[in-house]
Structure formats: structure tokens, C-alpha cells
Symmetry: C2
Subunit: 151 residues, 2 copies
DNA sequence: GTAAGTGCAAATGGTTTGCATCGAA
DNA sequence: TTCGATGCAAACCATTTGCACTTAC
């Protein structure tokens, strides 16, 4: 079970799965597809464990990221977003499509960058371990709205 | 000349090329390859025009970005970086390779994503207008250092 | 008992905003 | 004389940190 794996990862680095941590992990599991901000994780977590502090949420998100349990995203909107790692090998091919208008985030997968990473390593000597690819544009719905407004 | 084009762009949106703006643009031109932060632009600009405020720098970088004169980057280090747009068609194929260790930023060009953008438009209905691609890893120098430390 | 974990409040740091003033068409 | 532009200080907001207290091995 996922939570057992989380506990193991924590204990290997001499950390405990405290009630607060468990609540945070539960929230991340329940919203695995939603890219929550720290503030959102905090609000949801309070429903499960009302006496939690925002600083605790931040500290734990940082720890969980360091342990490879959650992944941190940056959409350029001034706050970080977090997602629990479920599978991991496909993680690397996971990119985002962001609507400039409504902020809607669409996930998509593509291994297209693998080739490019190898080429970069060859050409520049860089040892590439990760990448971040975001596309910005207008989602179909906002395109429609914009056409209606113009008409 | 580049600055004439900047002036035209500004005037078309009923803005003036003030001494402060000119100083900012001069700084951006002189550091066209350096991805300056707002703070850095501020410091360099003070050399040319000592009586400038940080808020003015921020306001103008925002304006210049809106007018398509500068491009804003976000390296995920908690501050934005700015670069003047020189050519523009190749702009789109301009990506970054960031060393996790020393922060060194290497630029590279590739049109590989064009295909992907078209495929995304077809599959999702998204109208993609821009993208941001960053690779993270270790530069050759930091790999060497790490090997030396291990030995 | 000791080291990890927590809540709270204060601090931090990049960025934005309110406001009175200034300056060019 | 009007409206854009500026400098300054204060405000903002996501995040981090200091600190005293708590909790689990």
C-alpha cells in the first residue's frame, strides 16, 4: 500500500509518520490529479487534523519532496504546486499545458524529450537529470469565448 | 536601430521613452545574454541614471514585456529574469539548461517542439502560443568537482 | 533523555501598490 | 491642463525561520 511505502521512506531517513504527516499524505493521495498549492494542502489537511500549522505543511512538503514522495511543480503563477508520486518511471514524461485565460491545467505525456536529453549530454557535457516543459496558450473553451466576444 | 524600434513600440501604445526607460533598455541591450533579475537591472540602471526607483524598474519591465520588447523567464529560483528580444522568430526555440549545483545557465536552440505543439493542438484543441522548457542537471565542471570529492 | 516534530508568530524577500509630485504634448 | 511616469514608503503574499513546547522511541 502506498502509505506503507511512504512510512518506509520516512523511517529510512529517521523520520516518523506523524498524524500531521499522515493527514498531508492522505490529502495528496485524495487529490492526486489536482496539483494542489501549499495553501490548498493546508486547508484540506485542516479538515482531517484541525490543529495543524501552515509551517508544518511547508516543512513536510519540503521533506516529502526531498524523499522523492511528492513532486513540486512551478507554473510561474508565484506559488508552488505539489503532487504525490504514484508510478515513477513515467513521471519523467509528464508535462503541462496551461491556459493563460482560465488557468486550466492539462497534463499530457510524451517521451519526445528523451532524444533531446541524450543529444544535449553529448553536445554540452551536461548530465541532465530532470526537465520541466510547460506549454502556454488558450484552451478550446476560452478560444470559443473569445470568438463570441469578438462577434 | 533597436532603440528606435523600442520607441515606436512604446509610442504606439501611448508611452514615452523616458530617460529611465532608456537606461533600462540600454542595460538590457548591454547584457543581452545574461538573463538579469529585476534587482540586477535596477543596480545596473542606477549606474546610468542614479535617481531611479526599484518600483520603476518593475513597472517598466512589466510594460516592456507586455509590448513584446523583453521576454520574462522563470528559473524556479524565486525570481524572474529578463532578456531583451533581439531577433524574434528564433526566440521560440530558445531553451535553458540549468546546473543544479552552480546555477550556471546554458542556452540552446532546438525546433524539436514545433512538431509537438502541432500535435497538441490537434489532440486537445489547445491553441499553443508559447512554451517554457528547462533542463536541470549537472554541468561538466560540477560533475568533475563531484568526482574529485568522492575520490 | 534525546532528537525529531509541532504551532505560533515574526521575519524574509521578491514584487506590487498608493499617493503625491513631476513633466511632456 | 491633462495624463503618463516617477520615487518613496508601505503593503502584499508565498515561504522560511526562531523558539519554546510536545511527543515518541
Amino acid at each position: 500500500m502506498l502509505k506503507d511505502w511512504v512510512r518506509t521512506q520516512l523511517e529510512q531517513d529517521s523520520h516518523r509518520l506523524t498524524p500531521q504527516r499522515e493527514a498531508i499524505v492522505d490529502v495528496l493521495i485524495a487529490n492526486a490529479n489536482d496539483h494542489l498549492s501549499a495553501e490548498e494542502v493546508y486547508m484540506f489537511t485542516r479538515d482531517l487534523h484541525s490543529e495543524i500549522g501552515l509551517a508544518t505543511v511547508y516543512r513536510n512538503l519540503e521533506l516529502l519532496e526531498k524523499l522523492g514522495i511528492v513532486h513540486r511543480f512551478d507554473y510561474g503563477d508565484g506559488q508552488n504546486r505539489y503532487e504525490i508520486r504514484l508510478g515513477d518511471s513515467e513521471e519523467h514524461y509528464h508535462h503541462h499545458l496551461i491556459c493563460r485565460e482560465c488557468g486550466y491545467i492539462h497534463e499530457f505525456h510524451s517521451d519526445l524529450l528523451e532524444t533531446l536529453e541524450r543529444r544535449i549530454a553529448e553536445e554540452t557535457g551536461f548530465d541532465v537529470s530532470d526537465h520541466c516543459l510547460r506549454f502556454f496558450g488558450l484552451c478550446a473553451q476560452c478560444q470559443r469565448k473569445q470568438r463570441d466576444n469578438d462577434a
